[in-house]
Symmetry: C2
Subunit: 339 residues, 2 copies
């Protein structure tokens, strides 16, 4: 089978590609080729695999050309992120709405030409949820909580959920939408995202660096490991439509944790010296943004598919340590851990 991963050079996209290459099959079919479409070059370990082809460039241009290629399945992960969309409204509309529509129309053109509807997994986000003045957000967001997005990014994701649902209803694609929770621990450097600290307060101390947490220890948030996130995307691809149920997007499982619980886990896994590298200094801007995010999430439909969040944040930290030690995608040193 031949697969397309948009955003295939990104953190989750590349991890999904590695997982698929290691499995060798998806939904009972041998994976012969994976096309990674991304505006950035793909990691070298991926391009070294003969099954991988890379298409580098803006997604919108790709998508318009994709009608002439046949894919058995698509993972649509490419997206401008929250901060980019707030800074450049047109970029956000183009990258997230126009590209998705062009991709869906390319797949529709194939179906209208007689092909079987292409199976597509769309990565939506917990960012579809937010508190609107008229509609207070519950502390715990569920599959069927009303999304009232408070960012352009969240709005784009929610609109694309509806496009995927309607193209599916019409039989143009076989689409499924998964709302990703905040993925942690991400490798790399701190970035400008308000959620950056959810990885930074673990990653930096493990690398021997200090880390400043901008919110109070009791802040709670639904998170997911990279591994569980990729497992969720694959499970959504492999399940029957009956098991997916309807056409509305679903939440992937979350581990609902407080910052305090994250740091307690860090101390248990890596020792008090590592934990001591995290200090608190409130950043009103970040704290204000985070205060408007869901405190927790449930994932009833994903659980029916057999998906589970990690049992504890300790497991998520251990997963990050194992990944960092094992490479090929190791990017961080580990320093000063007790045992």
């Amino acid at each position: 089978m031949r697969l397309l991963i948009t955003g295939g050079a990104g953190f989750i996209g590349a991890r999904l590609a590695r997982t698929l290459l290691a499995r060798g099959q998806l939904h009972g079919q041998t994976i012969e080729a994976i096309v990674l479409a991304d505006q950035f070059p793909a990691p070298a370990d991926l391009t070294a695999d003969p099954r991988i082809t890379v298409q580098t460039g803006p997604l919108l241009a790709h998508c318009q050309a994709l009608a002439h290629q046949a894919f058995d399945g698509v993972f649509h992960l490419a997206s401008a992120v929250s901060g980019e969309c707030e800074a450049d409204f047109d970029l956000g509309l183009r990258s997230n709405l126009d590209s998705t529509r062009a991709l869906l129309d390319a797949l529709r053109a194939r179906t209208e030409g007689g092909a079987k509807p292409t199976r597509l997994v769309f990565s939506s986000s917990v960012a579809v949820f937010g508190p609107d003045e008229a509609v207070p957000m519950p502390d715990v967001v569920a599959d069927d909580t009303l999304p009232t997005p408070q960012t352009s990014y969240g709005m784009h994701k929610h609109i694309c959920e509806h496009l995927v649902a309607d193209y599916t209803r019409k039989g143009y694609i076989d689409g499924r939408s998964a709302r990703l929770m905040t993925v942690t621990v991400r490798p790399g450097k701190p970035n400008g995202a308000a959620s950056s600290f959810f990885s930074g307060i673990i990653r930096e101390p493990l690398a021997g660096e200090p880390s400043v947490c901008p919110v109070s220890p009791e802040v709670s948030h639904p998170v997911s490991s990279p591994r569980a996130t990729v497992e969720g995307l694959i499970a959504l691809y492999e399940c029957t439509r009956e098991a997916y149920g309807g056409r509305t997007a679903l939440n992937l499982p979350a581990l609902n944790v407080t910052v305090q619980e994250m740091l307690d886990a860090l101390e248990r896994v890596a020792g008090p010296a590592v934990r001591a590298r995290v200090t608190f200094e409130r950043n009103e801007t970040i704290a204000g943004i985070v205060a408007r995010w869901p405190k927790a999430a449930t994932a009833r439909r994903a659980q029916h598919l057999g998906l589970q969040a990690e049992a504890s944040f300790d497991d998520i930290i251990r997963q990050y340590i194992d990944d960092t030690r094992a490479g090929p995608h190791a990017t961080q040193a580990l320093k000063g851990m007790t045992p």
Copy 2:
């Protein structure tokens, strides 16, 4: 002040224009000009008013040109309807999504050029609601019921609600979205819409014609009169943002009635001979579509704005009779009424 009504030659658009011309002012400002943009020509009584200008042609082309015109306010009613969107997927996307985006971008261009954000009322629809397998629809839909549209038309309307909300959040427009209930009694002829009978079973017998009701008498549905619908649109324009509350779309008030109650009202208002012109013959296709529509709606936020549905369906029938007798938009004869 200078106003734009897209879909201004349609039934609700023309009625809104007449109401505004008769009032002479909106939100305390004298109405100097109203532009009616529509693909169809506007009724003669409207074009006879010197304050009216008509722009005939496809909305998408209009909207791209609208950036060069200044409007104090916009009522955005233009839309391809449900049946059209199901029959021609591209037409629906172009008429409903692309046009709305072009309109919003034209207004945004003005704001970015230094103008005050244009106030915009968007007519969404109760069609945003529907039963998805994963998310059962409650019998009574409220402002905060999760929309899971089951038609392209409903999906377009819901996506546009989110676009209006996000352009408003960014300060590009001052947008408000009203979900219109099924408007009855509409003048004119029966059409192919599944909802056509909600007007037909009143309009045809009043005109001396037989009418066949395709669903059973106990079918319940949220309806609204043309007058209450137009009042709702104007109230949304005139209210403060605080009174509107948040940025999420709201339901306009509905009178929740069964077909039996509609016919009982017809008999009370027009006599048993008129009522006797309605017979029942189940149409499985129409009955199946209607079974997936909301049975009733509430409108808490609209009620806070002082809006009310009619107290009874008798009032809605009397309104239709008065309108038909009074014209200028009289299109139907009234025949054989008792008194």
